[in-house]
Symmetry: C2
Subunit: 396 residues, 2 copies
DNA sequence: CGTCTTTGTCCTCTCAGTGGAGAAAGTCGG
DNA sequence: CCGACTTTCTCCACTGAGAGGACAAAGACG
């Protein structure tokens, strides 16, 4: 099919598209209830959207006691590509215009191989999804990278864990290859967008999403919008000091949160514990797998290993320490914990909660839920699709 | 004079009023350049504003090579009252509609005496200003209190240092007494508004204002707007842990920033040092005044006293430690240091800068100015006037 | 004194948007 | 099967915001 070229011509049309995206098919009358426009004006705008092909009218809905209504919905042929580049793996997904995932692939990868190699892999994954009949092409793509991004241009800036990407024109390059509009953002921000769109943060306007994966980052949502900071590095909490004079960190300081707790730090500490004979359980896993990951620690803790549990608790304490400060400062309405380490589950969550509720003032914590993300590994790709759809469903 | 009753009827009028407030008198043509309206439409809206009396046309400006323009300005009779309630003193000021201070009084006071006593004092100060001929009445008032505020209602909530104020309807009570609209906010937020309006933060959209007075608080401005958090306690950084297992704090925890550095903490530490014979300079001042304040420490440091300097440096280090975390998280474009302790001046600033620049990542600090506030004790009252004027100069 | 520039006013035209009348297409009770 | 009532959608006349051009007013300047 020919790809989407049209964009909403005005704010009304943009609003209608967003309503159809978030609420599914609707009749003109239902749309009118949500949009504060007269029926006549609404009909005009809907007709224009129908002309552009962005939305279609397919069939009649069941009667609700009167004339049956026409179903207006977003063009079911629209396809968005969501890409979530992590430190050690990539997620690529195809969604329809309602941001429902139609297909999703995850593959291991190493960002440090640089943008060219990674893009090759991403494009081949996208091609595979296309070949499986899910899409004939893409109307837009969102992509998340594990580092700060100059958002308007879609270019990574000074990313610590992916040095080869500094200044690489991700947006432009990918847009060329895919032949569609592309938006780029930090992976944590996309996770926040995902949880806001379809996860635990649907009804909250000001919240934080703490992503604990290979590193640690924080997505900040203010008044429903992602806040990216002056240079795009807002939420970079991995190098906040969690333990004074603590472990040395790659950044040159000591005691950074990331040096004490993250996927990488946890694996390191678990290996150390195994080698020092502090945990038979972990030692056994180390023997069997030739290495340890956060998942091993989670499994060991689930099997009742005290050392593994301690590692998780200690990490949760450090994380909670930092989050407590952020809660005092930012006074969010919700804190979401996500990322690969979420497999550690409720042990981790409990440790974080204890620390935050103890350290922050009651006014800030009184009604503050601290919860695990709801979408798991799909948060990023859904957020990516949401990012590009927000862009395309706004006035040109 | 009769007080202002009218409000702008639409967004255009509101915008015009704000332009006149921030840019002083303007001709219709000059306004047209800033407002993206046709001259005809602009003329209509200006005429309507003239009818309401909110603005006046007084005289002709000098010619700039053609027909002379009419000067359009905000009604010079408009008066706003700005009130800044601190822990130990009150500032009350009268401004015109351009938020220029026409008169300013500062008096010592103790918030803990409760809202009734404090209001009596504030009202008598306002009466004194009125009696001196600066105002015949007030068109609006802004008031800042040293604690969290439920902003929409203008009611303090659970304020630690002013327990008697919890739930007291400040906005309503003051509005009754003064007979004009009133807005209430946290004192730190008002300081941020003040520095944004007339101080160092005029051109920045995302910045932090750290106020170090009797306590410590932080004003957060996102996209030009003050961010207040979910329950109005955003920026409450006094109880973030600055020193693990540090000094006990009134809040029940240990090592809170406020327990280590603030006007009160500094006075306490200086007294201790004087009594232990660690500083002859401070001991002399203690003898002379019967007590020590932050100003004494500043004077001692200026006189070359090493102990006083150490106290300031150590405090700056703790503060910088916390600010470094906030900078990593929030990635502001500017950090402003203000409040009573600013008398400590560049010694304090240097200590804070050192710590922040060392602990935060280069991307966040690379282009980050950390400066002292420009307005000193007038920041709060200017911010208060700005608060109410923003309210009144927005569509009804 | 005529020309040029700037400022402000007036008038007409366009177009977004409203609200009401009514057509189309149902349900439901008798 | 028919009439009364509902709901959905369309059509049309009217309103008001706003644009843009013509023109008047008022000064500068050679």
């Amino acid at each position: 099919m020919r790809r989407m070229t049209a964009r909403p011509a005005n704010a009304h049309q943009a609003r209608l598209l967003q309503l159809l995206r978030d609420g599914g098919p609707n009749s003109r009358a239902q749309l009118g209830d949500q949009v504060d426009l007269s029926r006549s004006k609404l009909a005009v705008e809907v007709d224009r959207l129908l002309e552009t092909g962005l939305v279609v009218a397919d069939g009649l809905a069941a009667s609700r006691g009167g004339r049956r209504s026409h179903n207006i919905r977003l063009n079911p042929g629209l396809r968005f590509l969501g890409v979530d580049i992590g430190a050690t793996s990539v997620d690529v997904a195809v969604t329809n215009a309602e941001l429902e995932i139609l297909g999703h692939i995850n593959q291991p990868m190493d960002v440090r191989e640089g943008p060219v190699a990674v893009f090759e892999q991403v494009l081949s994954m996208a091609a595979k999804l296309r070949a499986s009949g899910l899409a004939e092409g893409f109307d837009g793509a969102g992509i998340g990278v594990p580092g700060p991004v100059r958002f308007p241009e879609g270019v990574p800036v000074a990313p610590p864990i992916m040095p080869g990407w500094d200044g690489f024109p991700v947006r432009e390059a990918l847009s060329q290859e895919l032949g569609c509009p592309v938006m780029v953002d930090n992976d944590v921000n996309l996770m926040a967008l995902g949880e806001q769109h379809a996860g635990v943060a649907r009804t909250v306007h000001d919240f934080l999403v703490v992503k604990i994966g290979t590193g640690i980052g924080c997505g900040i949502v203010v008044g429903g919008d992602v806040y990216r900071g002056t240079t795009g590095s807002a939420g970079d909490i991995g190098h906040i000091q969690a333990v004074p004079d603590g472990r040395p960190c790659a950044c040159g300081n000591r005691g950074c949160l990331e040096a004490h707790f993250s996927g990488a730090a946890l694996a390191r500490d678990a290996t150390e514990a195994a080698q020092q004979g502090r945990s038979a359980e972990l030692a056994g896993r180390l023997e069997a797998n030739g290495g340890l990951s956060a998942a091993d620690v989670a499994a060991a803790a689930a099997a009742g290993d005290a050392t593994a549990l301690d590692l998780i608790r200690e990490g949760g304490r450090s994380t909670g320490q930092v989050i407590a400060g952020l809660v005092s400062f930012f006074n969010p309405g919700l804190v979401v914990i996500g990322g690969g380490v979420t497999g550690l589950g409720h042990n981790l969550l409990a440790a974080i909660r204890t620390q935050v509720y103890r350290q922050s003032l009651p006014l800030a914590t009184g009604n503050l839920p601290i919860v695990l993300g709801e979408l798991g590994p799909t948060a990023g790709v859904i957020g990516a699709a949401r990012l590009i759809s927000d862009h395309l469903f706004s006035p040109a």
